[in-house]
Every structure is written in structure tokens, then in C-alpha cells.
């Protein structure tokens, strides 16, 4: 408690710094000065970097065309030329988009912490709670191994079970990397559909689980834990937030770029070599079982969005139906075996199965809906 009051006082001073409490006033001032300097540096670096970004982005297509047809002298319409032009354009484009968006999301996320999400959702009624939880799931930083502590934290703070699930579904499902890839490769309509339906599945499946009143199917130890004390929240300065954005880029883009490029390479191959309409028979709209099969295959699969979306894009181009493809992608991202194994520590088998069933069903419906209306 003592620490908490200290921190509050510290934050009240105009320049709050970081979570490192207990630093003397002198070091506090030094830190504040260093942060002002850092902010200035970021601003000075940021403007040219942004200009460079837009410059690069605008010359991507002509450059890809020029390299393929002029520099390498390949014939227009050739299979290899098609694949290469596709790769040379889409690869850098997606990486550029990814960097900018991940940076932005990194900054936005610095405003949200798990502790704040918990406080915000505690005692919420269903419906409003489900909607809010699904939205918070997008912006709250969350790694899958935090699922259990987070789950316990939410439940012990009085967040209804269904609302907690809305959060747990939306957090991995609506993923910024997936969003960028969908936008970059397939345009804003598909990206928007993914965002809207992802949120909808999270809200509705959380609400359904809440209606089923399965609170008794939590493992015993969860209920025995007392509501954790509220830990002091970490207040960041703007320099700290920009730093968080940079860290997110290093972390996410740094780790996913090989997957993105590999995915786009496979996509480029499909684009150049697979005949038009080839996928229509297997993953097309008329194959009624395809959505079911897509979800069935997708659930136990564990891949990141970065590798799978470029492939999915190419399949779509060759006649696969959007609903089928969307359902496949969602089941791969939202329901993964490793996460279930972790969640089994807090959920009894029946609740775990209900969770998989309800979310799987939601994704299935989304798949059929899109195949029907598009």
C-alpha cells in the first residue's frame, strides 16, 4: 500500500516518468530531462521517416514492374514474370504497411493495460460487458501465455464469465498483423469484414457462454483465490509511448517478416502457376462442406496470421470462396491447441469444450453467411 501512495504522489508531479518508483527527486528530474530530449529526437527523426515511408510506398508498383519487365527483360504475361512481379510488389508493400500499423498499435496499446481492462470490465452487466470486452480485446496487449493469469484476474475481480470469454476470444482473433495483411492484399472491404465479424463472434460467443451459467465448471483453485489487490498502474510519458511503438515494431515485424515473405512467395507461386478457377471445386461456394472442413482443419492448426494470409489470398484469387477462407483463417488464429492446453488449467473439460464449440460454431456461421451473401 505504501508503494501505491508513493506512486500516486509521484504521478501528480507534472512530469510523471515510469514505473520505477522510489527514485529520488534528483534522479526524477534527470529522467524527465532525458525523456524530453528523447521526445525531441523522436520528433526530429519521425517526420523524415514518415516522408520516406510514403515516398517508398508510392513507387512500389512501378518499381516492381520495372524490375520484372525492364531490368530482367521478362515477357509480359509469362508465368514466372507474373509471380515475380506479384512478389516484388506485395512483399515490400505488406512489410511497409505492417511497420506503420504495428508502430501505431504499439502506441495505442501503451494506453491500455490488463489492469485497466479488468477495472473497466469489473461488475459490468452482460451485453454491454460483452461488447466492451470484445473491443478492449483488440487494444489490450496480451500474449497467449498470459491467458490464464488474465482469466483468473478477470474472474476474481467480478467480471462475469461470459464477458471474460468475449475478451479471450477477441484478443487473439482480431489481430493487427492479420488486419494489415488483409487490407494490403485484399483491400479494405475484406479487412473490414474480418474486423466486424471477428468482433461479432467474440461478443456473441461470450454472451452465449454467459447464458449457459457455467461458473461451476471452473477449477476449484480459481475460486479460492482472493481478488488480487490492485497493483499500481504504470503511467508512461510520450517518449515512453513512442518507445513502446518502436519496441512493438522490433518485436512483431522483427519476428514475423520471414513468415510474411515466405507466405507471399507461396502466394506468388500460386498466383503465377495455378490455373484460374482451380480452387473453385474444392473451396468454392458450391461445395457446402468446405466451410465445415475448413474449420475442422483450422482448429488444431497453429500458425500465425502472417504466414497464412498471403496463401489464403492467392487461393481466393483462384476461385476459393471468401466465407470458407475467412472461416479457415479465423479458426486457425482464434482456437489453437497450445492455448487450450493452457486454459485447461483453469477450465474443467466441459467448459473448455463449450468454449471451443461455441466459438467454432460462430466461425462456421460467419463462413456460411459470407458464402451466401457475397
Amino acid at each position: 500500500m505504501k508503494e501505491f501512495t508513493q506512486l500516486t504522489i509521484f504521478e501528480d508531479q507534472a512530469q510523471s516518468t515510469c514505473s520505477c518508483d522510489g527514485i529520488s527527486a534528483a534522479t526524477g528530474a534527470a529522467v524527465a530531462q532525458a525523456e524530453r530530449a528523447a521526445l525531441k529526437r523522436y520528433t526530429l527523426l519521425g517526420a523524415p521517416a514518415l516522408l520516406l515511408w510514403f515516398g517508398l510506398y508510392s513507387v512500389l508498383e512501378p518499381t516492381a514492374q520495372a524490375i520484372t519487365y525492364d531490368v530482367l527483360g521478362l515477357d509480359h504475361g509469362g508465368r514466372f514474370a507474373d509471380a515475380l512481379a506479384f512478389f516484388l510488389y506485395d512483399g515490400p508493400k505488406v512489410l511497409l504497411l505492417l511497420t506503420l500499423v504495428v508502430f501505431g498499435v504499439g502506441i495505442i496499446r501503451s494506453f491500455f493495460t490488463a489492469a485497466r481492462a479488468r477495472k473497466c470490465l469489473a461488475g459490468r452487466r452482460e451485453v454491454v460487458g460483452n461488447v466492451l470486452a470484445a473491443l478492449l480485446g483488440i487494444v489490450t496487449p496480451f500474449c497467449s501465455c498470459s491467458a490464464v493469469p488474465l482469466f483468473v484476474g478477470f474472474v476474481t475481480a467480478g467480471v462475469p464469465l461470459g464477458v471474460t470469454f468475449s475478451f479471450l476470444v477477441s484478443a487473439p482473433m482480431v489481430n493487427e498483423v492479420a488486419l494489415v495483411l488483409l487490407y494490403g492484399l485484399m483491400g479494405w472491404k475484406v479487412a473490414g469484414l474480418y474486423l466486424a465479424t471477428g468482433l461479432l463472434v467474440a461478443m456473441v460467443s461470450g454472451w452465449v457462454i454467459g447464458r449457459l451459467k457455467m461458473e461451476g465448471h471452473l477449477e476449484e483453485w480459481v475460486r479460492l483465490i482472493h481478488a488480487g489487490q490492485d497493483l499500481p498502474d504504470q503511467e508512461l510519458s510520450w517518449a515512453g509511448r513512442i518507445q513502446a511503438g518502436v519496441t512493438a515494431v522490433k518485436d512483431i515485424v522483427g519476428k514475423t517478416w520471414p513468415w510474411v515473405l515466405a507466405g507471399i512467395a507461396v502466394g506468388a507461386g500460386i498466383h503465377g502457376y495455378v490455373p484460374e478457377g482451380f480452387m473453385a471445386s474444392i473451396m468454392g461456394r458450391d461445395a457446402w462442406w468446405s466451410v465445415l472442413a475448413a474449420v475442422g482443419i483450422g482448429i488444431p492448426m497453429y500458425s500465425n496470421a502472417a504466414g497464412i494470409i498471403p496463401v489464403v489470398h492467392a487461393l481466393l484469387e483462384k476461385g476459393a470462396a471468401l466465407g470458407t477462407v475467412l472461416a479457415f483463417m479465423m479458426s486457425v488464429i482464434a482456437l489453437s491447441l497450445p492455448e487450450m492446453i493452457i486454459l485447461r488449467k483453469v477450465l474443467k473439460p466441459r467448459l473448455l469444450l463449450t468454449f471451443v464449440g461455441v466459438v467454432g460454431l460462430g466461425i462456421l456461421l460467419v463462413g456460411y453467411l459470407f458464402n451466401l451473401i457475397l
Binding site: C20, T113, C145, G153, L231, Q234
Partner: protein, 77 residues
């Protein structure tokens, strides 16, 4: 001094443990570093995002890998 690194064992948790050990070694502080990966224990400490670091039972940071400067500030008191 007892420093606990709370985390089930994802890459970020390992990174947090590594960096804490580094700072302890660099500063020469007499501290034991313990890794806690049991969910029950983690939850009991009121932590619901990992990695988290606690010094002498006081939770100092939650849901991120702390920087060296932050860790140094916690243990140099």
C-alpha cells in the same frame, strides 16, 4: 533480497528472467532470483499479465519485460 520473475515460460518471460539475472550480476547486489511458473502462485500475487517481476514480495512491473534501468532502480534501494 529475493527477486521473483513470474511467467509460465514464453519467450518474453525467459527474456525477463535473463535481464534480471544480468542486472543482479552487473550490480553485484546480494539477491536470489527465483522463476515462478506456477499459475496458482502467480495469480495469488495478484498478477494477471506476464512477465511480471516482484522484489521482496512487492510486484514492481506487470505485463512487460522491464528495462535494465528499471530493474536497477528497484534493487538499488
Amino acid at each position: 533480497m529475493e527477486i521473483k520473475v513470474l511467467g509460465p515460460g514464453c519467450p518474453k518471460c525467459h527474456e525477463a528472467e535473463k535481464i534480471v539475472r544480468e542486472v543482479v550480476a552487473e550490480t553485484g547486489v546480494d539477491a536470489s532470483v527465483v522463476k515462478v511458473s506456477d499459475f496458482q502462485q502467480i495469480a495469488q500475487m495478484g498478477v494477471f499479465a506476464t512477465p511480471a517481476v516482484a522484489v521482496n514480495g512487492e510486484v514492481k512491473c506487470v505485463g512487460k519485460v522491464p528495462t535494465k534501468a528499471e530493474i536497477a532502480a528497484w534493487i538499488n534501494r
